[in-house]
Amino acid sequence: MKLLKTSLPVLALAGLFMILAACAQMKSISSLPDSHPEALTTGQQVNCSECHEDQQKGTMKAFAAFSHSATFVKNHRFYSASDDRLCSTCHKSSFCNDCHTNKVQMKPSTKYGYRPDREMPHRGNFITLHKIEGKLDPASCYRCHGRANNERCVACHN
């Protein structure tokens, strides 16, 4: 107990020293810009490697990993989970929240009917399809309707 009492201030001091040292070194870690320096064409399947190949600095991942191929778009959840700072240089939060939100007013494919090229969930008559798809892969329902967007679900499922 005595040893603990003696070592606590030492440990606290060491911790404070480490935090100060880390803060001092953080000045050398630059931040991403808050927006992409050049405008990108709407609807373009952005290929980051056209300009950025092998230009990553420090611990940054290669920009080529973020090129918007069909595979990237389909699996973008993996990238957004650790690199949403990079996403936010080109996309506003509302771009994500058209689909990923707590309360959706209309299907994103209805809101953006003029953009059939965008990947959007539940196009067409999904009311019929959900009776099959829900049994096939309920985890895919849970991500968006598990704890939100379930207001209409309870009309039948209660």
């Binding site: 870690i29 940054m60 191929s69 699996n75 993996f78 929240n97 009311i127 985890a139 499922h157």
Partner: protein, 438 residues
Amino acid sequence: MKNICCRLVCSASLLAFPVAASAADISVDSSTIFRIENRDVTGAKKQTLLPATQFLGLDVDKLADGNLSLHFYGWGRADLGDKSYNNDKVDGSFTYGYLQYRFKEANAAIRAGRFFVREGIINEQVDGVNARTELPMGFGLSAFGGATVHTKHLYAENSDGKGDYIYGGRANYRYKGMLELGASGLYEGKAPTLANYTNGNHRLLGGDIWFSPHKTIEAMGHTSYNPETKRVAEHTYLLNIKPVQHLVLSGEFNEHRERSYFYAWTMFSGAALDPAEKSRSVGGSASYEITRNFEVVADYKHYTREIGNADRYGADARIKFLDNSVRGGLSYHYLRAGKGFAIGTNPTASYHEVRGYAMHDSKNYFAAVDALGYFFRDKIYNEKSAWEAMLSLGYHITPALALSGDISYGRNPEFIEDTKGLLRLTYNMTFDGKGGKK
């Protein structure tokens, strides 16, 4: 009380919006949408729906010393005809609204207000505070805490089944541009007791990985653990291989222990599910950009559940011309699924899915056509298919202001006929923007 304090602090942070922001970048996104739908449901009277919806987004950047920004997004709706959504003729949502301060170093940022958190296994909407930073030697930290954003009460309940507060965070380590390891967790306050559902507390721990030993290989994914059930909830992993330029071969593995993963899914009483039940899907795809303007994708996925196995396979082709102003696509998929997945007493749930679309966006006009059909192997409610075709036409009144209209018609097992019209006025303006428009 804790909940109220949290919301007050968040609201106060928004009141701190500096008025003297002459050098600020202001961006406004507005969409006003009038929908007209005739709904003819089997066994019910015909309905005419006339909902008017306003979406509004506001982003004010470069406030104060240039690193402070304000972000807001929400929508409101009024039904001018029959009720379009459950029992409310007027509805709205405050999707997000927060102040953010971005530091010039270490990608550090602090947010206060209502925001979404997406970090590792965390995917939440919170009224509270979020801070994150990179640290020396490749480490990083992110933490958030605040009040849970509640949704509509569940049917015949006094709650949406969520606890009142939530906190969590993620710590990560990155090594050069080849490895990232993350550990994340969240803890939501005790879920309220409900009369008609067996609900569970929302608490998760997890780890994530991104590994790219060579620029042609990339593996990533995460595993989450539910401390309430003391079992793994989810494994989800993806492997991308790029053997030659423009070709991506991809493999995925997903497994969910249903009781643990759905534990906080009140509506389907996740906490009451069989602990042994799990679902698994394994799949692969190959996407190839044949030219800069033409991409094809072939994919396959196998599903395994207690109620049976299923397979889905198909292909997509996408094309674009004239400096990206004309875009089109065709796709075909087939789902082979047995009786366990079928609707009613049908012997199978198998169906074909066919879709085609084309769009053109010029300086003055824009137009799109989209047709999607599902063709069932066994009739559903005496219908062999569900299909919908849509035409959209629009005019750019100014570069920022556009008026457009959509009309669609379809037939399907649920709605004998589904006719929908829509009128849309969009305004997307950035004032004093430098750099790319978001």
